[in-house]
Subunit: 527 residues, 2 copies
């Protein structure tokens, strides 16, 4: 599959008359790819790298504007959503009067993005609720005691609500405070679920110092929760994608900060492209956006376009739920039904919290209004999260606790592996056992055992990742840089980044050692 030959077709609206639009379009095509004047480019770069202006037409809506379509080589956009977004709009975001309207991605590039893990079908499968829109709410206000947030969540679940999420303002700087709060709300929702026999989902807000996001995601999973609320534009769009993938999370996305992208109709990024297509590429299952009639500046057409972008065919990506929010009231139900239909999540705030019957009463009233208009079907929820997923899980699961040693440095449930599959770097007489890290364990490292027969040696190589070794059997030699060290049982050794190293067995007996490495690591290079 040669991406270089496939094209990404991008639509912009530019504020210019036809004659100037030609120059501007050309400037965009250069700016976004080579950033040099065309006369400084050689033939190959012009042919293979530079963007190409395809069409320029009068904008059917905005007088004095033109619609420009530019094609870029798909090979320029590999490597995540940051790189893709940069190609589409990085520098021209600073041009006056250039708005990014839409993008048509080729299949080769779409294949890099598995998209929503659950999607509409998966979220419904998790809940066991079919045939009607889903009802969601947010825990708020920030500053409330944990018990109050937990009882709010419980009341919503008891009222029959489907999804309760943290308000996007709920963000504990401290990891332990986050765990306490999430645990309390999860307990409350679980208690309610036991009473109702349903599965209301609780989605905590995945926010905080960047370095703590993995720990928070791990806690969410370990605590048995299906997913999280995330603000992709605050944590980073590709960062969100990466977290959703690594932690098997259902993601409800909040549009915080999206106004800077979308608000100015003549510049920035179209609503549907940002909150629809790009969020879906990031793996978002439910995309929250402000609905007309609330306190935000949006119109019905923009919202319809977002909903369409979330659900229209897009490579092999599952459709995601549109989730209108803001100003959702019982007296606007008819309009919401018309605008979003069955496959939507209604995120209702004030109308539940301010309801005369409390949160539970408000939830019941809303559900009643939905059931009057839709043919609700309730099925048993999916047995476990994985069975509701549209995507295979990343393989994190609980596993064998004891890997018992046998007498000859072999282990139960662990076979010998080949040391390396290619002879490129050279080695001799090496046995390898993958003890921990390749069998579903959750850890940032792997533990292996290597054994060298007499005169055996490992590859002479270097890499950025480090080795930690523990001598286990016999005596061997560690060559590392200029040094030569004898390694005997229980000696510990550390091989620093890019240090050229090799293990050798110069004795007449087997030499065995444990080796610990980071799970994510680079490939060895020759010295």
């Amino acid at each position: 599959m040669d991406q270089v030959d496939e094209l990404i077709r991008v639509g912009y609206r530019v504020r210019a008359d036809r004659a100037n639009a030609q120059d501007l379009a050309r400037a965009i095509a250069l700016e976004q790819t080579v950033e040099l004047p065309e006369n400084q480019l050689d033939e190959a770069i012009r042919e293979e790298v530079m963007g190409e202006v395809q069409t320029i037409e009068n904008d059917p809506v905005f007088p004095g504007c033109q619609r420009v379509r530019i094609a870029y080589r798909a090979g320029l956009a590999g490597g995540g959503l940051g790189v893709l977004f940069n190609l589409l709009y990085g520098n021209v975001s600073m041009y006056p009067g250039v708005r990014l309207l839409d993008v048509d991605l080729p299949d080769s590039l779409l294949a890099e993005y598995p998209g929503p893990r659950y999607g509409i079908a998966g979220v419904r499968g998790l809940l066991g609720v079919h045939g009607r829109p889903l009802l969601a709410t947010a825990l708020k206000p920030r500053g409330s005691p944990i018990e109050r947030l937990a009882s709010m969540a419980e009341a919503f679940a008891l009222g029959g609500g489907d999804i309760v999420k943290d308000d996007q303002n709920l963000a504990d700087a401290d990891l332990d405070a986050f765990r306490r709060r999430v645990d309390a709300c999860a307990v409350a929702v679980e208690r309610a679920n036991e009473r109702t026999g349903r599965r209301c989902l609780y989605l905590p807000h995945l926010a905080g110092p960047d370095g703590s996001l993995e720990k928070r995601a791990e806690f969410i999973r370990a605590r048995g929760l299906a997913g999280a609320l995330v603000c992709p534009l605050l944590v980073g769009l590709d960062r969100a994608r990466s977290l959703a993938r690594d932690y098997d999370l259902l993601f409800m996305a909040h549009p915080a900060l999206s106004g800077v992208y979308t608000q100015d109709g003549e510049q920035g990024v179209a609503h549907h492209l940002l909150l629809g297509t790009l969020f879906r590429l990031a793996g978002v299952d439910i995309s929250v956006f402000p609905a007309p009639g609330g306190r935000f500046d949006v119109d019905a057409e923009q919202c319809g376009a977002i909903a369409k972008a979330l659900t229209r065919p897009l490579g092999k990506l599952s459709p995601a739920f549109p989730a209108p929010a803001g100003g959702m009231r019982l007296d606007t139900v008819e309009a919401l039904v018309r605008a979003y239909g069955r496959d939507s999540v209604w995120l209702v705030g004030g109308a539940l919290h301010g309801h005369a019957g409390g949160v539970a009463g408000g939830t019941r009233a809303f559900l009643e209004a939905l059931r009057e208009r839709f043919d609700e079907r309730v099925k048993p929820p999916a047995e476990d999260f994985a069975s509701a997923c549209e995507l295979p899980s990343s393989g994190r699961q609980a596993i064998q606790t004891l890997i018992a040693a046998r007498d000859d440095f072999r282990w139960q449930g662990r076979d010998d592996q080949v040391y390396k599959t290619t002879q490129e770097l050279g080695f001799r007489g090496v046995r390898r056992v993958e003890l921990v890290g390749r069998h579903g364990e959750e850890a940032g490292f792997e533990l292996r055992y290597f054994e060298l027969e007499p005169d055996g040696y490992t590859s002479l190589e270097k890499h950025v990742h480090t080795h930690v070794l523990i001598g286990a059997r016999g005596e061997g030699v560690l060559v590392a840089g200029e040094a030569r060290q004898i390694l005997e049982p229980n000696d510990v050794a550390y091989v620093a980044p890019l240090e050229v190293h090799q293990l050798r067995n110069e004795s007449g007996e087997p030499f065995g050692f444990y080796c610990i490495v980071d799970r994510e690591r680079d490939r060895p290079m020759p010295p």
Copy 2:
């Protein structure tokens, strides 16, 4: 230090007459904190959480607009730049006609942000160049063969240039391609530096799939480079901060995508706040922004404000370099000197690449123009990166290769530690040795040895992080959940997330085992 009592004062410009501005300001104060109508709030939340409108004044520049100042509790903004940005502008970004102008952060919050690692003084120290603006360029265009990029870098360094960075369009999807390209350019610049006796810095672009950024940052450091180019708005603002901190990197920031924040004068975020203050909080040492006269839509006043925000007093944060870019030509030198003065980095592109004398000739011509106007002083560059830093390094350094075992399960250079500093969770007779991970080693895990005397036991506890154990001496019992396993030498065991566990020595001899854990991990909890 009680952040709750300290205030963040935030300035917005709102498009409204005086009477409506009052309501709008109140709405912002609610939106950004509690997201509920005031009548649904209890007294404590109103007092301690809700934002407070402080002043409303006519905007001195924009007719029909008001300047609003709102105070938020500093405690709401802890936990990184994503959380802070959300408080300042998350939801109101979606309001019509509300622009974020400036922010005054209290010292308690500023203390969370060490800021630029090098800053102006540190970058100068690294280079050994004082008294004049620094000259920088970008390697481009994308699609050029590696050798051409490398020879471009070499020519710039031979011409006496100070900093050569990747173009922000240079982004290899593949990690190994990135390493090959970076290595080739680094070799070329090092070769030039040997000839000139100077230290030209090469900064590769830190971009690509989010999950690969750590590996790329590690490679940059391991390759002996001081830092990188980063697009904070593409990788995520707090993600950038976190990478700069964890990898001791000098960061030159590129403003890609910043136009969506800044372009619309009535909405979005002021240039100086985004590219100045927020980037500086993220640890940026050099902030690139488009200068007037180039192909971007900016004016001199905005650029002046960015430069000021980068250099004005801000807690204990070092000042960062403003780096005007775009349309920098020999015939605009006078204007640039007047606008930015001595402490600036001039990022020059086309004027070098298109120079009749080639890149080396163009570089020399620019430096000559600078030396005519400034009193250049050249000193020997700092011996190593750390000595030029304004901040202490995060402690990554090369260390002891062999930690040799003694007969009694003690190790050279590693003392016994107390098992735990509090008796909160209960334990008895436990000896602990930190073998690898706390002595400057670069690894995502730690290796420890624990030894229990007869009748000794570790705390009965649980945590999200997992344990991997290797039996080393004697015989012990691992209690994990419902299971009880005997652990003997070379048995390997895995303790899953949140599994309640304990190690016990029920024998008459010492029981010792290795334990491997993730370096970043949560604290143990009682069962």
